[in-house]
Symmetry: C2
DNA sequence: CAATCTCTTTGAGACGTTTCAATTTGGGAT
DNA sequence: ATCCCAAATTGAAACGTCTCAAAGAGATTG
């Protein structure tokens, strides 16, 4: 099953290889008659041009890579989808790689994308990855960092003001009258988590009479949330927080599940707020108060910045920071 | 920023290009001293081998593609993840493409994977895609169809017995005493949907005294479920189904949300069952009865079958069909 | 000391494509 | 009949890599 190449097509159609290539890339330069012969040769042979050959010659591709920590978190899946949609409008294809939050795999896929000479890279990560991306960029592959603001002016990024988001959530809980508040999340080495906590702390401090308990839970998944939820639900009411703020929606959903299973009423007995505003937050049976980041423009902004930077244009605003928006739902204010 | 190639490395290290290539691929064949020089040259130059060059020479790659209809459906995200995990154990990389249920985009990515000469393809699709895959296979790219059983003996597939799954769900609802049952889903052109309905119908018929109302909803998402849920909740109780069986969990979750919002009690007023058993089904505040397909081995089976077929081995069992398992939860039997 | 043998190193050639400069063709103007 | 021009076609060269056959350099053996 020897792969069929452009030469075979040319031979069968009785034309030169250059003509076949022209047919493929500049159809207007080839006569109708030969076009037909070539088309039929391609069909009978089942010719599929080799991207390796083309790329070798051209030196570039039309593919961009999206490296996500965890596609099974709907948050990233939703970002992936909006990126994909925008990219396809611009005639580009998106290849998705799932690092599974693993540093090594992240590195591996980054390397692979480089070897593939993707045109550009979109990277969501919980790691300190900026230095690595600087290397990649220097070697010719530009990238947009998504989800954490870059430090370096060279590294383009699109992110959310997580400090402000955390502040908004806790401010909201304080406004509702809660004073014993818990923050669930970790590890603090992750910028996104640290920022959300920082905002939460700031709100607490400026209020004065409230307290913030920090409960470490590095496993920011539904399962992780359930673990925490079980523990909290088991506490006697007077030492149980009046409200919990989870570092992301998955945690919050897991926590809520255990609260409800334990017979606690949300939000009367305990209020819950999440972060990211994934679709499942809005659709939970007790809809979840959360922080909406990527309003419509997020995926677009990412891809558009990437195209700018791929084109070599200087970026006016290298670090685009969106302001998050608190979405208040039943899990904090009850059925409206 | 001219790309640095293997020649540049060779020049800087003062060796022949062949030696550099050996260093990369057969490190044991090159002396320690030159290995060091080459390593340092690679580092200072920031050399990253071009996969295009390599692939052109070798004709094969170590990448497999996974084409999913919709990564933002956790069902596919979970499959993607298990595939990725297994593939990486076997030293392969997975590239994910999201067709967004769009026939055209599906075609586009399939073509792209072919041009990239991926080693093999894993395809989840709601379309009749077998013929297309036959073409792809004939041209040298093997594939495993996931989620629908293939018709052709040449097309390897891993799937679930959806007829049996549908039957189990409805049998369960009948056993609980429900007689007016509704099936939500569509379009019937989709094999998975049609099979689930077929199983449901079979169970109803063999029972005799029960009725099955089919409510078409092609948008099998949470939003789609909410639309249906609103309509059903608005019906007077005597024409409202006693139980609904949704073609997938997203639909079911959306439906439940509206039922609860309308004040209906689940399962006392109306029972709900879904299909796929995504994590959010188990974690819903009223946990959702669903059908578990891909128990542990699913992703493994897929990748292992793909490696077999990539190796050119004949497959003993070309169409592997897993038997689904009903997972009974609160949405049908109430709090246990 | 010659003859082998092993371990390294070398450079050419091929993979499939696109582009570019050069050539052919056909038709209209002179 | 000749010339010219545009349009269509051609073939060679180059992209970056790996492998293969061959050669070089020591080391070991007879």
């Amino acid at each position: 099953m020897a792969r069929v190449g452009i030469r075979d097509v040319a031979a069968l159609a009785g034309v030169a290889v250059g003509t076949v290539s022209h047919y493929l890339n500049h159809p207007d330069r080839v006569s109708h008659e030969k076009a037909l012969r070539i088309r039929s040769a391609i069909d009978t042979l089942g010719f599929v041009p080799s991207s390796a050959g083309r790329q070798l010659r051209l030196g570039i591709s039309t593919v961009v890579g999206y490296l996500a920590p965890d596609v099974s978190n709907p948050y990233f899946a939703e970002i992936a989808e909006s990126i994909e949609r925008r990219a396809s409008e611009l005639g580009m294809s998106v290849l998705l790689a799932n690092s599974h939050r693993d540093r090594e795999r992240e590195d591996h896929y980054l390397q692979m994308f480089e070897e593939y000479r993707v045109r550009g890279l979109i990277v969501s990560s919980h790691q300190a990855i900026e230095e690595r991306l600087a290397g990649v960029r220097q070697r010719g592959t530009p990238s947009v960092l998504v989800g954490q603001a870059a430090r370096s002016p060279e590294q383009v990024s699109v992110s959310l003001d997580d400090v402000d988001g955390g502040r908004q959530v806790v401010q909201h809980l304080l406004d509702l009258g809660h004073r014993r508040i818990a923050f669930i999340g970790g590890p603090l080495a992750i910028p996104q988590v640290a920022d959300r906590l920082a905002g939460a702390s700031a709100a607490i401090e400026s209020w004065g009479t409230a307290s913030l308990e920090v409960i470490a839970q590095a496993d920011r998944t539904i399962a992780g949330g359930r673990d925490v939820g079980r523990i909290l639900a088991a506490r006697p009411a007077d030492v149980r927080p009046e409200a919990v703020f989870a570092a992301n929606d998955l945690l919050a959903l897991g926590i809520m599940h255990e609260f409800v299973a334990a017979g606690l009423r949300i939000p009367q007995d305990i209020a819950v707020a999440g972060y990211d505003d994934i679709e499942f937050a809005a659709s939970s049976l007790i809809s979840l108060t959360s922080v909406q980041g990527r309003h419509a423009g997020y995926g677009f902004a990412v891809v558009d910045m990437l195209t700018e930077v791929m084109a070599g244009h200087p970026i006016a605003e290298a670090h685009r920071v969106f302001t998050p928006e608190l979405v208040v739902r039943e899990s904090t204010v009850g059925r409206g």
